[in-house]
Symmetry: C2
């Protein structure tokens, strides 16, 4: 089970844009240089976050990217869901009902499958952690990185 | 983020073999008919569980599949890891160190990245749930299915 690499990029961009709040909006060319990425690649990565109302982008020479909401109101769960989709990692296909094994079950299959319930419980524990963390939490966790980010950004000339 | 369908098959096979303990080993042709699957497909699905010491298979006309250990000693985490691999879903590629953004960081990157730590914490919550459930728990959760499984199995003639 693997998460797409877009999640790591998305979270780093959100945290960076949060730290650069006073300098926002950040032009895409700067954000791309920031992470040493091609502009088009980064744009494509960030589009789902714009659609989800997490980032906002403005056009023009003074345009660029910024957080669409205060970082304390953007949960990590939202960012992950915007990039990975809302579906659960474990899909129950009702294997219990298949073949000879599922014959003559009566009303036994009215409730959810115990295997599915257990896998769902584990995923809820994971989601609970992600829903309980915000971009602001991640920003506050690394004060040195915040200072370095603002310092490096203020030195940019192009 | 999606888990392979092998996890659902693996867990159902383990639970079914647990319920059929007294009739084990279960021939592959019966187990395949049980779930209405091609034998070769099912064999391939179950091989990682044999390699992980969760299932055992014996050759010959009286041979077949059974749990390699008591079901209370097989955690759901073990089954998932055998089928999905031991890697974490979130991979940290140290994005913080890339490009202009990572310049002049000094010893700041000695510790783990906060984003990676947070994602790891969420995965640990997920793993803790899976590690805390065993095949025996899943078996006990569905007494009606246990009775039906044993009843249906005892009626098989081929």
């Amino acid at each position: 089970m693997r998460m797409g690499e877009g999640v790591e990029w998305g979270l780093h961009c959100c945290v960076t844009l949060g730290w650069l709040d006073e300098a926002a909006p950040v032009p895409i060319r700067r954000l791309a240089a920031w992470f040493d990425l091609p502009q088009e690649y980064l744009k494509k990565r960030l589009q789902p976050l714009t659609r989800a109302g997490i980032l906002t982008s403005s056009p023009g020479v003074r345009g660029g990217w910024s957080l669409a909401r205060p970082p304390g109101e953007i949960s990590v769960m939202e960012v992950v869901t915007a990039l990975e989709g809302p579906l659960e990692a474990f899909r129950c296909t009702e294997i219990r009902q298949r073949g000879i094994g599922g014959r003559d079950a009566g009303r036994e299959f009215d409730g959810p499958c115990g295997i599915s319930s257990m896998m769902r419980r584990a995923e809820l524990a994971w989601r609970r952690e992600l829903a309980g963390s915000t971009i602001a939490d991640l920003m506050e966790h690394a004060p040195e990185s915040a200072a370095r980010t603002r310092r490096n950004y203020s030195r940019l000339t192009d």
